[in-house]
Amino acid sequence: MTSVDELMDYAEVIERFDPVLGLEVHVELHTNTKMFCGCANLFGGEPNTHVCPTCLGLPGSLPVVNGKAVESAIRIGLALNCEIAEWCRFARKNYFYPDMPKNFQTSQYDEPIAFNGWLDVTLDDGEVVRVEIERAHMEEDTGKSLHVGGATGRIHGAEHSLLDYNRAGVPLIEIVTKPIAGTGERAPEVARAYVTALRDLLKALDVSDVRMDQGSLRCDANVSLMPKGTTEFGTRTETKNVNSLRSVERAVRFEMTRQAAVLAAGGKVVQETRHFDESTGSTSSGRTKETAEDYRYFPEPDLVPIAPSREWVEELRGTLPELPWERRKRIQQEWSLTDAELRDLVNAGAVDLVAATVDAGATPAEARSWWVAYLTKEANARGVELGELGITPAQIARVVALVNSGELTNKLAREVVTGVLAGEGEPEAVVEARGLKVVSDDSALEKAVDEALAAQPDVAAKIRDGKVAAAGAIVGAVMKATKGQADAKKVRDLIIARCS
């Protein structure tokens, strides 16, 4: 059914077209309960066990708004520099699709709780792009469909579908950007940086798990192209199923090259929903939209309007934590980092880990050297995030302490960390099991030094003549004899003392 799409070379796309993006991010709040009923808001679970008459849309049931969810929505709006509505309503979005058993989704239509904001996002090289926020509104998540009978598990070709409504009614905030134009070749990067910044922000606000892999943060990417020199937006496509930060970037880039090829061949971009395929990095035409998107929105009669008093809004503003960009600025000052050092730290995704390591007793320089310089390489080699590497900030801080107390050399410390990463237990256990203690027993060291001096009498003579530089050869021999478990400086001091 699918033909391979023609793609235009990226450099040519940029030469001939200007991309325009629009990003819609859905974030599931991690409240205890659902948006309109007291069912538990939990990921997974046996199907249809977190459901009740309200979220199943049974006759006679009535919704009641979760106050905590409204609070979270307002805090998100404030953190995104939005205005908060003085009065707004929920609306019914009517459609027939079995993911909502009510045959409508309770959402907000033309009265979002938050609107007109912005978020500054930092690209990898430090350039800052301001993304304007159109609105953030409250709604509820849908149930999960399992399509049975199709070859791919997708909806096409399925014989029937199975529905689990555990997720139906989970509080959802939809955050919509204004059109993002003028970013040119960096558009895919801007898209990723925006979702990254938003994720960090939502995490700092502690309103969501923000797990893209579990669907608690989802991004739909709208992409269109306009020929260079024109200002009228082209026809856009909306790509769904973009489940990782990297996919956001890839999906936008793919759509740009695909649409450019369509336009260059004299064709027209079809306004449609497209589906991103993680394995191929391409998008394909998705479900055909409900006939002409006629949702017949109307104010939800079962829920009274929400009118956040200005006092309440200010009170919530007071609960905003230090936001990621403020924290970065503070950390840069406190740790005396250059812009480049801060960027490396942020790009490595190591800010929290380094801060926790510092809290556990290491200096910022020591902590950064481990996480940014050493462990980032390990994580890349294994294809995992730093935080999933299997070593904690507390463990790194203990390794650092062992080095500082002279019990480990830097070389031995790396071996200890390798052991921890390999699942051999706590740093102290690895030291014990691998026998990695620095040889600090003076008599043992003296014996090794004496043996080395005796083995190389000509070198020993030079040192006695004051040619201290010659001591290096003896240090090497002692280190070899102690299997690298001696402190080189101490060995050197000892050699010179023996020869004077």
């Binding site: 007291g38 079995p98 006939t291 009669p301 009118a307």
Partner: protein, 99 residues
């Protein structure tokens, strides 16, 4: 000039998944027109100082505490389902049924 056309009635019927015959379309279009025109007389009284009303009760901010309450069990949840499979509601295939 009727306030709702026959085509609009047909469109609404399709959206609501109602199978309406040609004869019924004529009948309902006429009936709905009468209803809409009757309701529209309310608009004659409304003036600029009367805001549109969506809710009859003068309440705002009715919230629930974020406290978990018991859910239905799976069996109970599925009790009224025409078909179920693996603890889930079973529904006919979704695409391809578009009118």
């Amino acid at each position: 000039m009727p306030s709702i056309s026959r085509d609009e009635v047909a469109h609404l019927a399709r959206l609501a998944r109602l199978a309406v015959t040609d004869d019924e379309l004529d009948l309902f279009a006429g009936q709905l027109d009468v209803i809409l025109q009757s309701v529209a007389t309310v608009g004659d009284i409304a003036t600029a100082d009367i805001p549109p009303t969506s809710h009859a009760v003068p309440l705002t901010n009715v919230f629930r505490e974020d406290v978990v309450r018991p859910s239905l069990g799976q069996q109970q949840a599925l009790a009224g389902a025409p078909a179920a499979e693996d603890g889930r509601f079973r529904v006919p295939r979704i695409l391809g049924e578009e009118a």
